[in-house]
């Protein structure tokens, strides 16, 4: 690694960042260690592993991991690696492994928490260091696992803030998503989309609260929706959710952007919340919530009108349409998005129908909206490979953001506060080598020295 902390620090200015942060594979490798190696990263939802042995594979940065439900009912997260010769123990995807993991190569077996269970022909190991109790013979667990209202996060570092502290103000978005269910619980349902983007992972995070792009990038989409609505003489839900991007600049200027520590944040809703109480689906939903929580609380829950929320390093939950776009970096110029849809337990079926329609029409690989986002992300990636200049600007409304006890709030909805906030977090992580990893490296060095 040739990058000193000094060199890294010089890549981020108050109002701009050096394009290398998006294009340099060495920086990407360092991000996998210092950001994805430390932060709490969303692994999956508990409802994806309902029964003992159910597993869901995913990635924490560049690490293949398995989320699995063990016999004691607890959810564990282990690296997808057999300690024998390193084979991935389960194939990518979801499944049920039964009572234990069995490696497909030489049949070493492991309990559901990854600990060593057995292996064939033990007599061949007599007189060797083989010891089932030695962690070297077990699948390794990720350092810390915790769940917030069913959302499972893991951290590769044994140190650092606990999950609740890490999430800070953005936990309120997860709370709101859950409270939209009369029993306070959600589950992943209806299947997930997976979309590949030819751009750096940070580009997508920045776009999530980029209100200046909507009218421009999505012109073909909202114009098409408006033309169709004009021809029909009405604007049904399917068209309304495409129409939102076409609001005039004055609309976007009035929105509020919240920035929290660790790069998180949210932006206010772009669909009229009062329209929601006018339609029968929202009215039924409101009735069910009123019964469960009382009218005031129900009004407060449905009135919390958030558009994209950002959990930096994990992705973007969308409370109103019950979605989580999980953002997984693949390489410096490839990012995989997994779009999960949630059912609100106990809510009317029509509420889930609407979430399904939203997922199909706005975030599927075949939507009329996302292809244009994906296109401009790719153009950023390619443009930043040219010699046409070195700095990427983040200066809109610089110096006007207001401090709050847990972060910042914009004075104008077109502020580039969210990008500045993300890079403040980025810098903090990147200048701080993960203590656990650092210690592991030191121990390895020491082992080598004594060997």
């Amino acid at each position: 690694m040739t990058l000193s902390n000094e060199a890294l620090a010089a890549l981020v200015r108050a109002d701009s960042v050096h394009k290398r942060v998006y294009t340099d594979p060495e920086i990407f490798a360092l991000e996998m260690e210092r950001i994805y190696g430390q932060a709490w990263i969303y692994v999956g939802h508990e409802s994806q592993v309902k029964k003992t042995g159910d597993y869901h594979t995913t990635r924490i940065g560049d690490q293949d991991v398995i989320m699995v439900r063990a016999a004691d009912g607890k959810v564990h997260v282990v690296y997808n690696r057999c300690p024998h010769k390193g084979a991935k123990v389960v194939a990518d995807g979801d499944g049920c492994t039964g009572k234990f993991f069995r490696c497909p190569y030489h049949a070493w077996t492991f309990k559901l928490d990854g600990s060593h269970l057995s292996l064939p022909l033990k007599n061949g190991l007599e007189g060797t260091c083989y010891d089932p109790a030695n962690p070297d013979f077990s699948m390794k667990a990720v350092a810390r696992v915790d769940s917030y209202r069913g959302f499972v996060f893991a951290s590769q570092s044994a140190e650092g803030p606990d999950l609740k502290t890490f999430l800070g103000g953005v936990a309120s978005s997860i709370d709101n998503l859950c409270e939209r269910s009369p029993v306070g619980e959600v589950e992943v349902a209806g299947g997930t989309f997976r979309v590949m983007q030819k751009s750096n992972w940070k580009v997508f995070y920045e776009n999530l609260h980029d209100t200046m792009h909507a009218r421009v990038t999505h012109e073909s989409s909202f114009v098409a929706a408006r033309e169709e609505a004009a021809a029909l003489g009405e604007m049904p839900f399917e068209l309304l959710i495409m129409d939102g991007n076409g609001e005039p600049y004055e609309f976007w200027e009035k929105l509020e952007l919240r920035a929290y520590h660790n790069g998180h944040g949210y932006m206010e809703g772009i669909f009229d919340p009062t329209a929601a109480t006018r339609d029968p689906v929202s009215r039924d939903h409101f009735a069910v919530l009123t019964e469960a929580y009382g009218e005031d609380k129900a009004r407060q829950i449905l009135g919390m009108n958030r558009h994209n929320t950002i959990i930096y390093g994990s992705g973007s939950p969308h409370t109103v349409f019950q979605q989580f776009r999980v953002i997984r970096p693949v390489s410096v110029d490839r990012t995989m998005i997994e779009i999960q849809t949630f059912r609100l337990k106990g809510a009317p079926d029509a509420v889930f129908d609407r979430a399904l329609t939203y997922a199909n029409l706005i975030n599927s690989p075949s939507s009329n909206v996302m292809p244009d986002d994906v296109e401009v992300y790719k153009r950023c990636q390619e443009g930043n490979q040219t010699h046409g200049g070195d700095w990427v600007s983040l200066h809109r409304y610089l110096g006007t953001d207001q401090e709050t006890p847990d972060g910042m709030v914009s004075t104008n909805g077109t502020s580039e506060l969210p990008m500045r906030n993300q890079f403040a977090a980025w810098k903090q992580y990147m200048l701080n080598p993960a203590p656990t990893r650092q210690r592991q490296a030191q121990e390895k060095e020491a082992d080598r020295a004594t060997a």
Partner: protein, 178 residues
């Protein structure tokens, strides 16, 4: 919402057989070839006119997906949404259609499956689709058409279901009709 109308019959399993003359079968085949050609030549207005008022275009997200109501789909579109898609891809500021998607459909193995409960003809074919936009891409699958006979002896599409061999894959964009 029309899209959620669960009374729409998405099943492609025939409830009775259909006996067609060799000439009638030939006309069905020609209809499918013509439909594919309209897409390849981006003659979208003519393609839209091939559908019944109520016709649905469906590309499931899962193998053997039972319906588009409980699970997500890659495409689940009625007349309105097909028209919106055409309007969008034909808009000059469709950044992700620069350059345009070019395609060649190869339609084969056409078999007449039978009739559905409402008497629509169910036709199965296999599809090889080569698509180019910056990169070349291959898509393949089995296609089910449900066709309603028209008075002039031709057909209109009631349902087109495309079972992609890789419906559960990671995708980049699927912007134009398959």
């Amino acid at each position: 919402m029309q899209l959620l109308d669960r009374t729409f019959d998405v099943s492609t399993a025939p409830v009775s057989g259909a006996s067609l003359s060799a000439e009638a079968i030939r006309r069905v085949e020609q209809f499918l070839f013509h439909e594919a050609r309209l897409l390849d030549e981006r003659r979208f207005a003519e393609w839209l006119a091939l559908w019944t008022e109520d016709g649905r275009y469906w590309v499931p997200r899962f193998h053997d997906q039972a319906n588009p109501f409980e699970q997500i789909s890659l495409f689940w579109e009625d007349k309105m949404l097909r028209e919106v898609r055409v309007r969008r891809v034909e808009n000059a500021r469709n950044w992700s259609q620069q350059p345009l998607t070019r395609s060649a459909h190869l339609v084969g193995n056409i078999t007449i499956e039978g009739l559905d409960a409402a008497g629509h003809l169910i036709v199965r074919s296999t599809l090889q689709l080569t698509e180019w936009r910056i990169d070349q891409r291959q898509l393949a699958g089995a296609v089910f058409h449900k066709l309603a006979a028209t008075e002039d002896g031709s057909w209109k599409i009631v349902l087109k279901r495309v079972n992609l061999v890789n419906c559960d894959d990671v995708f980049a964009n699927l912007e134009v009709f398959i």
